[in-house]
Amino acid sequence: MSSVHIASPLRDYTRGAATVAAEGSTVAELLADLERRYPGMRFRMIDEQQRIRPHIRIFVATREIRDLQQPVAPQEPVHLLCALSGG
């Protein structure tokens, strides 16, 4: 089980929670688990071509993820970042 840190603009899906738990041995599996728990959330991050949306960045521990098949080790923290626009 990984601890997933949720960017503020995505917290509407997690009922305001900043950190949630999700399971998966790859980033793709982890996102699928998040979608089961928080319907609609995956689409905010991944487009129809299964690419990470250009305003979203995913980090596993300190590694930036560009391929959803990359592994996630148990207990590794995952950060879902979103571009912010406010000034």
């Binding site: 609609g40 250009p54 571009a83 626009s85 406010g86 000034g87």
Partner: protein, 373 residues
């Protein structure tokens, strides 16, 4: 090198006492030329600290006037400034703080046509803008004209900051390759903790001074995030992208450009809005054309009865043809994309289009709690 007079030596004595700054560093700051884009939540504290620190030429760019709702966080302004042009009042306030420096006000909206001329007078840009389009324009111009950039953004209780210097690391597009206008609500719609931009603006001023003086370890290739609720900072290493559209090996952006369907602030300001409860009333009584500008998958998840799906990207690329008889109401998830669509519709000649204020999130909150959005 620029020299310091007796009054300046007294004013900056605490800087002069720092071995990392000293007379040489303070003189360098005096000779520096910095532009702050956006005199908002971020720009106000950043400009105050940069003026106080003795940055010799400080430019401020903003085309807005002071609004009462700004005063909760935009600390250059007071109640007496409401209605006045921001850059004028900012310049007065900063002059009171430090009459030794040169202050330049740019009361214009930054766009591809003026960015080159404006940036040519500065060596470092501080980005505190509140528009996605401006954020990318500033980044691209900094890469193209080889200016350093200290960027930050805020939302509710969260902030981000990163710096760019030519040939020293990734740019903002390496982090977030394309603008996603409208996907992220701005502070007007989502709210923002007043003190949040104070923290991020102070970080921007710190980064600016470090980059100008060449001291410390600036946020080059690092994204710093701040969560005020948990009071936690995180840092993420960002790699330069070889395929970056502006700083990559084969850049496709070689001169600053306005994004597709660019709307000026004034155009967006002229858009008329309708609240969710008002729309609920109108739905039963009037002939309305409802245009939902979200992506098809979002539309499929839930939409208002009778709404037509016309994604914003499609409107931007193909324009808009609508019957002019019915009142047209544009909607999206939070109200950002529909604001732009509405402004484009006005430009295309649609008579008095309306925008659903706060988007379908507001509809769910105020009218129909079971609505899927």
């Amino acid at each position: 090198m620029t020299t310091l007079g007796p009054a300046e030596r007294r004013r900056y004595s605490r800087h002069l006492a720092l071995p990392e700054i000293g007379i040489e560093g303070q003189s360098r700051l005096k000779g520096a030329r910095v532009l702050v884009v956006g005199a908002g939540g971020l720009g106000c504290p950043a400009a105050l600290y940069l003026a106080a620190a003795g940055v010799g030429t400080l430019g401020l760019l903003d085309c807005d006037s002071v609004d009462e709702s700004n005063l909760q966080r935009q600390i250059l302004f007071g109640s007496q400034d409401v209605g006045a042009p921001k850059v004028d009042r900012a310049r007065e306030r900063l002059r009171q703080l430090n009459p030794e420096i040169r202050l330049v006000a740019h009361a214009v909206e930054l766009c591809a046509a003026n960015v080159g001329e404006i940036f040519s007078s500065y060596e470092l840009i501080v980005d505190g803008s509140d528009r996605v389009a401006t954020r990318y324009l500033v980044n691209d111009a900094c890469v193209i004209y080889r200016k350093s950039l200290v960027s930050a953004a805020i939302y509710r209780f969260e902030g981000q900051a990163m710096s760019y210097a030519p040939d020293r690391g990734p740019c903002y597009r390496c982090l977030f390759p394309q603008p996603s206008e409208g996907v992220v609500p701005n502070c007007e719609q989502a709210g923002v903790l007043g003190v949040l931009p104070g923290v991020l603006g102070a970080i921007q001023a710190t980064e600016t001074i470090k980059l100008l003086l060449g001291i410390g370890d600036p946020l080059l290739g690092r994204l710093l995030t701040y969560d005020a609720l948990s009071l936690s900072f995180h840092e993420f290493r960002i790699a330069r992208r070889a395929d970056c559209a502006v700083c990559g090996e084969h850049p496709s952006i070689t001169r600053p450009q306005d994004p597709l369907g660019f709307c000026t602030v004034e155009e967006q300001r002229r858009v008329r809005r309708i609240s969710a409860p008002e729309l609920a009333e109108q739905l039963d009584r009037a002939v309305l054309t409802l245009i939902d500008v979200r992506e098809p998958a979002e539309f499929a998840y839930g939409h208002l009865p009778g709404a037509i799906n016309l994604p914003l990207a499609q409107i931007e690329q193909q324009g808009l043809t609508l019957p002019h008889e019915a009142t047209t109401i544009f909607m999206c998830r939070s109200g950002v994309r529909s604001l732009k669509a509405c402004a484009l519709a006005r430009r295309a000649g649609v008579r008095e289009p309306l925008q659903l204020e706060g988007g379908l999130l507001a509809w769910k909150a105020m009218v129909e709690p079971s609505f899927h959005v």
